[in-house]
């Protein structure tokens, strides 16, 4: 009864997934055709970009730019995730904390983070630390706000039930509140990772001595346009891999949620 349509749905999903890749292929083809037709030094073809990318992956680019960037990304993002979740839970759960911090947080998260890069430059000088600080500062907000909103909107019945079952303090937090708000935390983390990636580039352009952002801008300055494009492509791939990993973890961890999203219960 249930099995057959489920398999059909899975097949159809696979078909749609395939269509998605067809769409991507079409986009690449358009890029290639436009580049060939325009024949401009400023707009390399897709194939040229990919072959440059291939060369880069066997060059010093990997150790001097790619790996440092990934490490900065991971550290900065981890810091922002930790702070965002902890502070988000606190502000969401305690109304007093929320009220004291609302105005200050509203202002802070509205401040475009790249504006802080000059300050970070003065404080930490050129290099990795400054990039990590900027990433953490920027990516903390989506995580924090999502966590806080979800916690504040927590179903009262759920908390009541947990209390009746004798859950309090840390157990209430880890066994009920955290799982209950985890879908929104994940949504915040996914936004956070793309924010991290974005500010990583600007920070490295302005104040890095290595990293993908630094690579892209120095390639541009020495008129190696194709390498510049390849650098952007690398970032695309990093973003895509990170996002896919997130989806994977999310699907496993939040399997229970799919039924609810699917509206099975009535």
């Amino acid at each position: 009864m249930i099995r057959a349509p489920r398999r059909a749905a899975r097949l159809r999903r696979a078909g749609l997934w395939g269509l998605g890749w067809v769409g991507l292929g079409v986009a690449m083809l358009v890029w290639q055709v436009v580049a060939v037709v325009k024949h401009s030094a400023l707009f390399p073809t897709f194939t040229a970009t990919v072959s440059t990318l291939w060369q880069m992956l066997t060059s010093s680019f990997v150790t001097s730019d790619l790996i440092p960037s990934v490490i900065r990304l991971l550290i900065g993002f981890a810091i922002s995730a930790l702070i965002g979740i902890v502070v988000g839970l606190l502000t969401g759960y305690y109304r007093a904390v929320r009220e004291w911090t609302t105005a200050f947080f509203d202002f802070s998260r509205s401040l475009p983070t790249p504006l802080l890069i000059p300050v970070a430059l003065v404080l930490f000088g050129l290099g990795g630390t400054m990039v990590v600080v900027i990433i953490a500062t920027a990516a903390v907000w989506p995580v924090l706000i999502n966590t806080a909103n979800a916690t504040a909107a927590l179903e009262p019945t759920l908390v009541d039930t947990a209390r009746c079952l004798g859950l309090r303090g840390p157990a209430l937090l880890t066994k009920v509140i955290l799982p209950a708000v985890s879908p929104q935390i994940f949504a915040g983390l996914r936004v956070g990772i793309s924010v991290s990636l974005a500010v990583l580039v600007v920070a490295e352009i302005l104040g890095g001595s290595s990293g993908i952002g630094f690579f892209i801008s120095s390639a541009q300055q020495s008129f190696q346009i194709t390498a510049s494009y390849a650098g952007v492509l690398v970032l695309c791939l990093i973003g895509w891999v990170a996002d896919s990993l997130f989806l994977l973890v999310e699907r496993r961890l939040l399997r229970w949620q799919r039924g609810i999203v699917g509206g099975v219960h009535d």
Binding site: A9, T102, F107, S228, L235, R258, D266
Partner: protein
């Protein structure tokens, strides 16, 4: 309820990209229950207390800033005092004002283009299963794409100037608006559509009077993400390209060791972001009163 129906719903929800649902609204979501009407004076007390606490938080933050700067915990070459920053804002008001104007210009032009393109394309793609699937992977690649990485290339291709900045802003802000519109249009309740059809609504009038209003809350939240994103892009281009505006102002101040001016620029930039964010949040709250029941529809 039959099995296929359930499978259909599950598929529909998991195949689509979840939208950027980071609510850019105030952290305190007000729940005003009309049923609970009571002692007016006491209700006002709670409201006053909240306002006081919010203001208190800001005062404490400013106090901490002053404390850190006075005690030289952070050296004065990196942090100016509150008073020095305020004075710098005062004495550079004219320059700051025109810098904000420049920033706003690029921001507004780019965002306007992104909104028109994002809503139209999102609505078209969202109404079609096939188009939706075709764009899925592309969107998943583009969404986390750091458009800021395109700044060096954009400078090269389009040169420095309003056209380049606005173009990059438009490109970046397009995605959250497009994604949310696509999702919002696709998830309009079938029941709502069927009801509308029985009422004789078809084609354009169906889209205008049912689909778009039903999707409006999601479109609005996509737009609000774009508002912040557009400002980040504008400022970043100004920082990297030195094209004027508040970003260039801050960088120039830093390079000239004018710490107070640097912080003046940051505070003004933050204030600009805050005004834009809260302004649009308030506007949408008034414009789309039915948006608040989104959560409760389950």
């Amino acid at each position: 309820m039959g099995g296929p129906d359930k499978a259909e719903k599950v598929r529909a929800s998991s195949s689509r990209e979840a939208p950027d649902l980071v609510a850019f609204e105030s952290v305190e979501t007000q729940v005003v229950s009309p049923a609970v009407m009571g002692n007016f004076r006491s209700r006002r007390n709670v409201r006053v207390r909240r306002r006081l606490r919010m203001a208190g938080g800001v005062v404490i933050a400013i106090g901490l800033w002053e404390l850190v700067s006075v005690t030289q915990l952070v050296s004065s070459t990196a942090l100016s005092s509150v008073s020095a920053t305020a004075a710098a804002i005062g004495s550079n008001a004219g320059v700051l004002f025109s810098a904000v104007g420049q920033t706003l210009e690029a921001w507004a032009v780019g965002l306007a283009i992104a909104t028109v393109a994002g809503v139209i394309m999102g609505a078209l793609v969202g109404r079609s299963r096939i188009a939706d699937a075709l764009t899925e992977t592309l969107v998943r690649m583009m969404r986390p794409l750091p458009s800021l990485a395109l700044i060096p290339i954009a400078i090269l291709v389009a040169g420095l100037g309003l056209k380049m900045t606005a173009g990059l802003v438009a490109f970046t802000s397009f995605w959250p608006i497009f994604i949310n519109t696509r999702y919002g249009v696709a998830q309009v309740e079938r029941l709502l559509l069927e009801t509308a059809t029985t009422l004789g609504l078809r084609g354009l009038s169906l889209i205008r009077s049912v689909v778009l209003p039903a999707a409006a809350p999601l479109i609005a939240s996509g737009f609000q993400v774009a508002v912040g994103l557009a400002l980040v892009v504008t400022v970043s281009v100004e920082l990297v390209g030195g094209t004027g505006g508040i970003g260039s102002y801050v960088l120039a101040a830093q390079q000239g060791n004018a710490v107070a001016n640097m912080y003046a620029g940051i505070v003004v930039g933050g204030f600009l972001g805050w005004v834009l964010n809260t302004g649009f949040a308030e506007l949408f709250r008034r414009l789309l009163p039915w948006a608040n029941q989104r959560e409760g529809s389950e």
